[in-house]
Amino acid sequence: MAEEPYPELAYLKAAGIVALTTAVCLPMRPYLQVTDVAMLYLLAVVAVASWYGRGAAVLTSAASIAAFDFVFIPPYYTFNVHNAAYFLTFGVMLAVALLMSRLTDQVRSQAEEAREREQRMAALYAMDRELADVQGRDEQVALATRHLARAAEGSAVVALVGDGEAADGGANWPAHDLFDAIDVRLAAEWAYGKGEPAGMGTTHCSEAEALVVPLRASTRRLGVVVVRPEQADGAIDPARRRTVEALADQAAAALERAHWAERHEQARLEVEAERLRTAILSSLSHDLRTPLGSIEGAASSLLHDAETLPDEVRRDLAETILEESRRMTRLVANLLDMVRVETGGLAVRKDWQPLEEALGVALLRLEDRLKAHAVDVRLPGDLPLVPIDELLVEQVFINLLENAAKHTRPGSNVTVSAWQDGPAVVVEVADNGQGVPKGAEEIVFQKFQRAQGADHSTGAGLGLTICRGIVAAHGGRIWVEPREGGGAAFRFTLPLDGPPPAALPSDLSES
């Protein structure tokens, strides 16, 4: 409760008000009833009670009674009272003074409380909002520490106790100067063990120079919060303590939430990994066995019927072996890439370079398979260098172009274009085939998803998943859009981030 900072001043003002009332009423004495004057003094008492609190109000009523008696009650200028009825007036004035000051005190303390609550809510809200934006335990702890220190107007430390640590003296308190004092450590042990605040301003270890509040989550205690107000006069005011406790509870809840979210994510990854293993196994068993069967068959007939086979059949068989083993090589490479993408083992070595080169490698490598298609490359001459891992982006081009070749009729067009869009380069590989069915724009990027009607011979359904992993590893995004006039347009972004490349040295013309 905010007391008047200088009580003497309040008394002085109260005395002044009584003097003023007397001075105003004195000239009008002949015209006023004594009861009117009493009302005016009462007014003064009420005013003082509401402005300056109880002490001043009592003083005012005493002074008013004295002045009233002395100046306005005959005989004038003596404290003698002839009519006993005036004592009733005095009594009423005193009672009113006491009553009024109590009421105003109440109102004032309620306002105080409301303001404090509002401040606490504001502090809670501020922390809550920021907590929602940070990921990871360390950042959350740092953020909570900052808010607690602000609320305590001093220093704060959030000490988490590991899962394996015992509560009774086994906790490793952090190396922080707040924990240097033995009584703070004792308070921390107690607070953590009992789940109740301890230290400064509490009933336990109150001689400690800091307040220790336990971090209480729904199922367990996570640790403690230690705060020490800047002006360490051996006390922390209750309002501040309540704010600190509320913040601690909220921080505990957020930490607990993050903990479970992490566990949940871990479990999800495990399930996902298991699913991947199963899918790879089934893919291996089918997609690898099929070419192996052809290879074995072709090779054995080459071996056993060598003399009887006409040349062209022999040639055919050898070609089968070659083609099928190439297909297997691609498949195995895709599976390996897939695992690397999925397990986060994709090492990206970025280098600033023209996009043209990675695209060129892909185009040449797919020359045979794109023979029946017209591939149109549209790279503007002023396209900036992009920071990419050439081997990976080349793989993205290969997969997208391969898809385009697979899903369009011979003779159709494939267009590769790129343009700068703000802080990124957008690349598009567009075809004029069937396009991606509406609603399947996301599904096509999932593992082992083959286009409708496609059989196993077209691939394992990993190409786009790998693309997405590679583009994501570059900080970009990949998606598919319907192309105007039919067909699919796969687009991906390559952000132009990182330290820009050193400028090229000047180069003189050779004549």
Binding site: S325, T329, A333, L336, D351, W352, Q353, P354, E356, E357, A358, L359, G360, V361, L363, L364, E367, V377, L379, L385, E390, L391, E394, P501, A502, L504, P505, D507, L508, S509, E510, S511
Partner: protein, 234 residues
């Protein structure tokens, strides 16, 4: 066995791979000796004095890079490194250590033979002999003496750096040259990390010399490794 047959040392631990390569090379008139370990390989390299070494980087008893280094300490025998896909860094290290070329497994026979021809041809030039002064492929003619580049009968004007880069590739025609080697030769030792210089100039060269710079026929990219000026039509 006529003495004229070139002797190839194949250092490879995988017996099936050895069988395939040996059979192929014998069919193409090479004499082959095999080694299944790095130890044996180094001993044969010193004892048999082969004309060419095919070295698998994934040997059981030693790092292929170590083998490259050990061979290079005493001999300039051309080395072609055989490596698995995805080990780009190893290949680059081997090339920077002095290996002449590389092949990624699985590789085809024509590829293997082409690489071997280039390596043997280069090794046949006696040390100190003046480098080949002229390069010709398709419509392109580079004359290193007259510093002249002609494409389809038209003289092409190159900047100083472009010419230097092209001349370096011509001196290693048919052979892969790593980014590092090119940067070192064209820009100098302080610029070996500035790969983007190289890529930008390579793009410029392609725009001046190739019919379709997005599908380069002569100035080939060796992804993650470097460049190769083809000396045979692909």
């Amino acid at each position: 066995m006529p003495a004229a047959l070139p002797l190839v040392l194949l250092i490879e631990d995988e017996p099936h791979m050895r069988r395939f390569v040996t059979a192929t090379l014998r069919a193409h008139d090479y004499h082959v000796v095999e080694a299944g370990t790095a130890r044996d390989g180094l001993a044969q390299a010193a004892g048999r004095n082969p004309d060419l070494i095919l070295l698998d980087l994934g040997l059981p008893d030693a790092d292929g890079l170590e083998v490259t280094r050990a061979i290079r300490r005493s001999a300039t025998t051309p080395i072609i490194v055989l490596s698995a896909r995805g080990r780009e860094h190893d290949k680059v290290s081997a090339l920077d250590l002095g290996a002449d070329d590389y092949l990624i497994k699985p590789f085809g026979v024509p590829e293997l033979l082409a690489r071997m021809r280039v390596a043997l041809r280069r090794a046949a030039v006696p040390a100190g002999a003046p480098p080949q002064s002229c390069f010709e492929l398709g419509g392109l003619r580079v004359d290193l003496v007259r510093r002249q580049v002609v494409r389809a009968g038209q003289e092409i004007h190159l900047t100083r750096t472009e010419y230097k880069l092209l001349a370096t590739l011509v001196r290693h025609a048919g052979q892969v040259v790593t980014h590092r080697q090119l940067l070192h030769e064209v820009w100098g030792a302080n610029y070996v990390e500035h790969t983007h210089y190289l890529r930008v100039y390579m793009a410029q060269l392609r725009h001046k010399l190739e019919d379709d710079p997005t599908r380069p026929r002569m100035l080939a990219t060796e992804p993650g490794v470097g460049y190769r000026l083809r000396d045979e039509p692909s």
